[in-house]
């Protein structure tokens, strides 16, 4: 009996000691991230049988368990992916907005100054001062566009570096998790299935930081290993095999890189399907960096406006610069400058960028340039185009800016080079093209990057429309003649004499002729009658009020330096709907408020997701975290248990002494 007493008390001592060890380990790890508190699982020993029945043989520690909830752990992974993803996105949109949005540095303030200078120019067309000021404002405007494009390009460069860095961190995580997987499998096997708690905690912590970078799904295996998949189903760790994300620069892509999944040895497996990577920092970065030139399975380039915020901002800035250059050049080139010549183009812009569908059968890409820069800029439209081969013919269409859908295809022809809306398109560099081959002609990318003012001489600004009514002879039948000149390029208008005659009869019929040419019949209409040049069609046209009499005539001649009609027309572009049915300033405002709305949405989501994560983390902490007070109480409890067991031991020793004393 007594020896049993000794043995049982020893188990008590051992158990209490083990418990104290576990408590002290908990206290030591109170601040270890990802640590789950551990408890020793204590059970009774096998009782020994005697005639009187079973006598307990003390206690033992069966295993040390961590207090861990698998379900909460998995929830936390998803929540962390979303919380960190939105957090990252919020930061990205914020930095974009900070660069675009300020009232002082934005495009709108430069546009407003340009518009104001344009008005002053229209008020005083004959003076050099306002002209010089207008050129200055135009230079500021184009510099603003260039610097915006540059800043957006910088954001993209930084973004790509960040994506590369994030991919590297993810790769390291995957490697470490795979390693831990192996160690856990070994440790579990060698401990007859008892859990290696601290390794598990370490792995969970690594998985958590992986989930912050990229959304994952975790599938536990029987041997203790975990298989890890990305949310798009592509696997990262399967059994002992793991995969890596390879960041590959692709200069021919507007985004500039490709993410590929490779084996641990580095041999490529597949391209990362980014579309479903919606959460985690990488998901946010990829979404923000998204460009729509990834051709989809059907071979259609997606709408250029379908890109991420960064792309949309850059494309809108590019299209704004296109609209400005095209519309002002158009007026400038049809107007007459102070020296009596047609104006030279005011703005130049960058060349369009071409992207080929990776699925194209042919090789090479069309060479596309501004038809004859910069004079062709006036014909440009603020859109991007899709080019395709259909049978023998190349076809082109504008990509949609609005949900109304794309324009219909226009056939260019079989060989080219073609000229279309100010672009010259040469397809001779493509070999082996087949029906269905597609290219994206992205004018909006690259336009703003090299926007420049071409005119340096203020006299070169075209304020005049060229022809003016010099004299209306007789002037009693014909009154208020308004001449609206539409010119043919390269033909400077010269004096025009227009004569009228009214032929008696019932009704009276009217005729007119130009510069003594053949008489043309004239049908009077209310309230005005339109006349246009017959000798040089398109050279001039005018609106006539009143009823001409025989002998009435109108003399047109070169207008003087105070003719501001063209300048007024340029001034009116400020309120013209030049892009997507918006004025330029409204378009920019809508870009900013669109970004702001997106930013606000993301901020709300970010806060909600962060709160969700906080709640789950709280629950985990509440369940698995170490509470020092609790440990202190346990310390006392096990100290007492240890003391009690010691007391039993000393009692047993006393009993033995008593027994020896009794028999001696």
């Amino acid at each position: 009996m007594a020896s049993d007493l000794l043995g049982v008390s020893l188990t008590g001592l051992r158990v209490a000691q083990s418990n104290l060890l576990v408590v002290s380990n908990n206290v030591a790890n109170v601040n270890t991230p990802g640590y789950s508190r551990q408890v020793a699982v204590q059970t009774t020993n096998q009782p020994s049988f005697s005639g009187a029945g079973y006598f307990g043989q003390g206690a033992n520690i069966q295993t040390v368990e961590r207090v861990y909830n698998q379900f909460l752990g998995e929830q936390a992974l998803q929540a962390a992916s979303f919380a960190d993803g939105f957090e990252k996105y919020d930061g990205l949109v914020g930095s974009l907005l900070n660069r675009l949005g300020s009232a002082q540095s934005g495009i709108n303030s430069a546009l407003d100054s340009y518009y104001a200078a344009m008005q002053d120019f229209a008020v005083r067309p004959s003076e050099v001062g306002p002209r010089q000021a207008l050129l200055g404002a135009a230079q500021t405007l184009s510099a603003r566009f260039r610097s915006f494009d540059e800043q957006l390009t910088q954001i993209r460069t930084g973004l790509n570096q960040e994506i590369e860095g994030t991919a590297r961190v993810i790769n390291q995580n995957i490697q470490s998790i795979a390693e831990l997987n192996n160690r856990i499998v070994l440790a579990t096997a060698s401990a007859q299935g008892r859990p290696p708690n601290d390794l598990l905690d370490q792995r969970d912590q690594l998985i958590r930081s992986l989930a912050e970078k990229i959304e994952i799904a975790v599938v536990p295996q029987d041997d203790g290993a975990l298989n890890i998949f990305m949310s798009n189903g592509q696997s990262l760790i399967v059994g002992e095999q793991f995969f890596q994300l390879a960041f590959q620069p692709t200069p021919d892509d507007p985004r500039g890189f490709r993410l590929q999944l490779t084996t641990s040895a580095g041999s490529p497996v597949s391209v990362v399907a980014e579309a479903q990577l919606r959460a985690g920092e990488l998901g946010a970065l990829l979404d923000f960096a998204r460009v729509p030139t990834q051709f989809n399975a059907a071979g259609q380039p997606t709408d250029l406006q379908g890109g991420g915020e960064l792309f949309r901002a850059q494309s809108d800035i590019g299209r704004l610069s296109l609209a400005i250059a095209a519309r002002y050049n158009d007026l400038q080139q049809t107007g007459i400058d102070l020296d009596g010549q047609y104006g030279d183009p005011l703005f130049s812009i960058g060349q369009p960028r071409i992207f080929a569908n990776p699925a194209n059968a042919g090789t090479g890409a069309p060479s596309v340039a501004l038809a004859s820069p910069p004079s062709s800029i006036r014909d440009l439209q603020p859109v991007d185009y899709e080019l395709r081969l259909n049978g023998a013919d190349w076809q082109i269409r504008a990509l949609p800016e609005q949900p109304s859908g794309p324009a219909s295809w226009q056939t260019l022809g079989p060989t080219g080079p073609f000229t279309f809306s100010g672009l010259s398109i040469d397809v001779t560099g493509i070999t082996g093209a087949a029906t269905g081959d597609r290219f994206l002609l992205a004018q909006s990318l690259g336009a703003a990057a090299s926007m420049q003012v071409l005119i340096s001489d203020p006299r070169g600004l075209a304020a005049s429309q060229g022809l003016a009514v010099e004299r209306v002879s007789t002037g009693l039948g014909v009154e208020n003649v308004e001449v609206d000149l539409d010119v043919l390029a390269g033909t400077l208008p010269s004096p025009v004499s227009i004569e009228f005659q009214a032929l008696p009869g019932s009704p009276v019929t009217y005729q007119w002729r130009e510069n003594g040419g053949a008489w043309q019949s004239l049908t009077l209409t209310q309230p005005t009658t339109s006349l246009s040049s017959v000798a040089t069609p398109g050279l001039w046209s005018l609106e006539l009020r009143g009823i001409p009499k025989t002998g009435d005539s109108i003399q047109l001649d070169r207008a003087g330096p105070s003719d501001n009609r063209n300048a007024v027309a340029m001034g009116k572009l400020a309120v013209g709907q030049l892009i997507d049915g918006f004025t330029l300033t409204d378009k920019y405002s809508s870009l900013i408020s669109g970004l702001g709305t997106r930013g606000a949405e993301i901020r709300v989501s970010k806060e909600a997701r962060a709160e969700t994560l906080r709640l789950i983390d709280n629950e985990i902490q509440s369940f698995s975290g170490v509470n020092l007070d609790e440990e202190a109480a346990k310390l006392i409890k096990f100290q007492q248990a240890y003391g009690a067991a010691g007391r039993v031991l000393s009692t047993s020793s006393q009993l033995f002494q008593d027994f020896l004393a009794a028999i001696s």
């Binding site: 900013i592 408020s593 930013g599 698995s624 202190a632």
Partner: protein, 429 residues
């Protein structure tokens, strides 16, 4: 609920972080004075404030254009006013010049006056703005609009009819001046339809002077359809037409009939009887194909003739030239001939005056419109300003209140942290 030690610290630290960032937010707002620090703070207001800013700047531009235009129009108005005075004086002086009793020297001194007035009007017509641009030369503001052509000895207009228009509202352009053609050189003749005169007063034709005392007091078209049909013929009729008085019987004492001839002497209307008895004031009405009526005062003699043709436009300086030339007509028929000339050109000056008054009225209504536009735009500009301020500017009173309350919550969070962190069972054992 079980609470882990880390949770304590994390939660309280998280709270303190939250409070600090909210405090920073309000501090940013207060130091920038703006409620919206980045557009995502209030995207709708941010977008709207950008648009309103643009609208405000556009309105300020319209106001600047209006001011500019107002200055120019006031200048133009004052010159047109001066021109009106000159033409009025000229016309008043012509009444005096019509006095048949004037001696040659009297007429000479009046002519000198007239010449001075003509020079004065020419000076006005060639007026320049403060930057040296001619005001009344249409778009050719670098060209002196009115100058005497040496070969034709007439003042000719060298400008054009294109008047610079300034934009004063998104859809409103107002002309900044008038063309010299409109003000001075394209003045309708006669009543604007027909003009009649004693032939030598028209340039480039020769005829023997009338010898009677008939003064043409009024000419008008009574049958417009006939007149238009006749004058619109192709080829054009040989104008001017001429009314010639004659006697049906050579022995009659006075003329009793008239014939209408064209410029080559072809008969247009054969001899028609004059009213009988022929009173001092009589009227003839020519039937088809001309349809013109003329009223005379005094008695025409045989072969006295008056020309008439469709009115064209004439130059006010040419009118003045003719009046000054007429003052030199002497002789027995002088008074009647001068009276006939003055009658025609009195009408011409009336037209010139009408044109100038019309211009002044038009300048006045433009100025009035500018006033109204300016008033409206100033109001709108203030509205825009107020709206932008309402959208983006910070309400300091409210912000100060929020600052105090956020400070308080931060303090509370910090103090509770300090207290809670001291609680530990370990300190008691």
């Amino acid at each position: 609920m079980r609470v882990s030690t880390q949770q304590y610290f994390q939660t309280t630290i998280g709270n303190i972080n939250d409070q600090q960032s909210r405090l920073l937010e309000i501090q940013q707002q207060m130091s920038s004075g703006r409620r919206i620090v980045t557009p995502s703070d209030d995207p709708v207001a941010a977008g709207r404030s950008l648009a309103l800013d643009t609208a405000r700047r556009a309105t300020e531009q319209w106001l600047r254009n209006q001011d500019d235009l107002q200055g120019q129009l006031e200048l133009v108005d004052s010159f047109v006013g001066n021109a009106t005075d000159v033409v009025q004086n000229f016309r008043a002086r012509m009444v005096q010049a019509g006095n048949s009793a004037l001696s040659a020297s009297d007429r000479q001194s009046i002519a000198a006056d007239f010449i001075a007035m003509r020079a004065q009007l020419l000076g006005i017509a060639n007026a320049r703005s403060e930057n040296g641009d001619y005001l009344f030369s249409g778009s050719r503001t670098d060209v002196e609009p009115f100058a005497r052509n040496v070969s034709s000895n007439q003042v000719e207009y060298a400008g054009d009819t294109l008047v610079r228009e300034l934009q004063v509202a998104p859809n409103r352009q107002i002309p900044a001046s008038f063309s010299g053609a409109y003000l001075f050189s394209e003045i309708p003749e006669g009543d604007g339809v027909v003009v009649a005169y004693e032939r030598p007063t028209a340039p480039g034709s020769v005829s023997s002077a009338n010898t009677g005392t008939a003064l043409l007091t009024n000419t008008s078209v009574v049958d417009r359809a006939a007149w238009d049909a006749y004058t619109n013929q192709v080829p054009a009729p040989d104008l001017p037409l001429q009314v010639v008085f004659s006697k049906s019987v050579a022995t009659l004492e006075n003329v009793d009939q008239y014939t209408v001839l064209d410029n080559s002497g072809n008969t247009v209307i054969a001899a028609q009887a004059l009213p009988t008895p022929l009173t001092d004031t009589f009227e003839i009405t020519m039937g088809t194909p001309v349809g013109v009526s003329m009223r005379f005062q005094g008695l025409p003699l045989e072969n006295d003739a008056f020309d008439f043709r469709p009115a064209r436009t004439e130059n006010v300086f040419t009118v003045m030239d003719r009046v000054i030339e007429a003052l030199s007509i002497g002789g027995a028929e002088g008074p009647t001939r001068r009276a006939n000339v003055f009658a025609v050109f009195n009408q011409g000056l009336d037209q010139a005056l009408d044109r100038l008054l019309e211009a002044r009225a038009s300048a006045g209504s433009r100025l009035l419109e500018l006033d109204q536009l300016g008033e409206k735009d100033r109001e709108v500009k203030d509205l825009y300003k107020g709206e932008v301020s309402r959208l983006v500017d910070l309400d300091y009173v409210e912000a100060a209140g929020q600052l105090a309350s956020r400070q308080l919550s931060l303090q509370a969070a910090q103090q509770s942290y300090a207290r809670v962190s001291q609680l530990s069972l370990f300190q008691l054992i």
